[in-house]
Symmetry: C2
Amino acid sequence: MRERVDTESRATHDDHLSVRVWLRLLACTNLIGGRVASRLRDDFDITLPRFDFMSQLERNPGGLRMTEISKRMMVTGGNITRIADQLLAEGLITRSVAPGDRRASIVKLSAAGRRAFGEMARRHEGWIVEMFAGVSETERNQLYALLAKLKRHLNAVESAAAR
Amino acid sequence: MRERVDTESRATHDDHLSVRVWLRLLACTNLIGGRVASRLRDDFDITLPRFDFMSQLERNPGGLRMTEISKRMMVTGGNITRIADQLLAEGLITRSVAPGDRRASIVKLSAAGRRAFGEMARRHEGWIVEMFAGVSETERNQLYALLAKLKRHLNAVESAAAR
DNA sequence: CGAATTTAGTTTAGGTATAAACTATCGGCG
DNA sequence: CGCCGATAGTTTATACCTAAACTAAATTCG
């Protein structure tokens, strides 16, 4: 009996720890994301998803397909369509039919888009650095490594859970 | 010149680290949150915000005001109104005028709500534990501590940045 | 070759987020 | 008492998210 109680008590304790870590992870992400979003809105009148969309393009000057962007942004396709429409209307991106596949289109930053994004990215990076200034470089590296491990496990169980 | 270059190069390196940590934090949160949301939907036909709403009430059996719930969920008031309406329509919560303040209302879990939430919470905790099984208890504690420090700093600069 | 399947992207329906304008009540103060 | 600013909550406009249904083009395979 004694052992069983101990096991359960340990399990319970541990369960709560995982939940507490999860809630804290969520709180930090929401805090940072919310602040980034509101500064992007105030300073550049742009939303976080649109900024992310542009940053994907900036990292891939050769252009990306819609599907590629949706994968990289970890978001379903419907969103991409709408965001692309808006950025196109604002002249920040260009869109052309993919050579050899008339279903697909290739999206790139326009010259205006590159210019606008450059300034935003510089400021954005500054905000992130500020927000992480409370933890030392060593700690940032620890955090980075721990999150890598977590992410790896999450991706592993995902494939397993193709039930 | 040499020194200046070094400083800049270190700063750049560090900037990128902060951004990388942020992107990974975001990725982990989205992965976990997305999975929790889809399981809640599949298994219980409920959304994450509704689940969170109920969990706030479960932790406060005496009931909460709308404003209190919105603060705890870190969400603006408009959402709370809508979610409360739906949970009320489904009979999962009760709502009554606050004694001594006719503007405010007190929301509580109904008997049906408590019953439904109990089962959901049990399963929910299991999913979280599974998803964190990739990091050891020691690592979970490290993560918890690092995130605490990050959160503390975030809250500190928030008050400072009341510009 | 041509039907069946897959893939790229769009559209639609339902839910949640914010910010800002609005209603109703509360509390203080002359 | 009566006005006035603060507070509780709702509503509205806009944006984003997913899932699922849909169109059109590409690919597979008998």
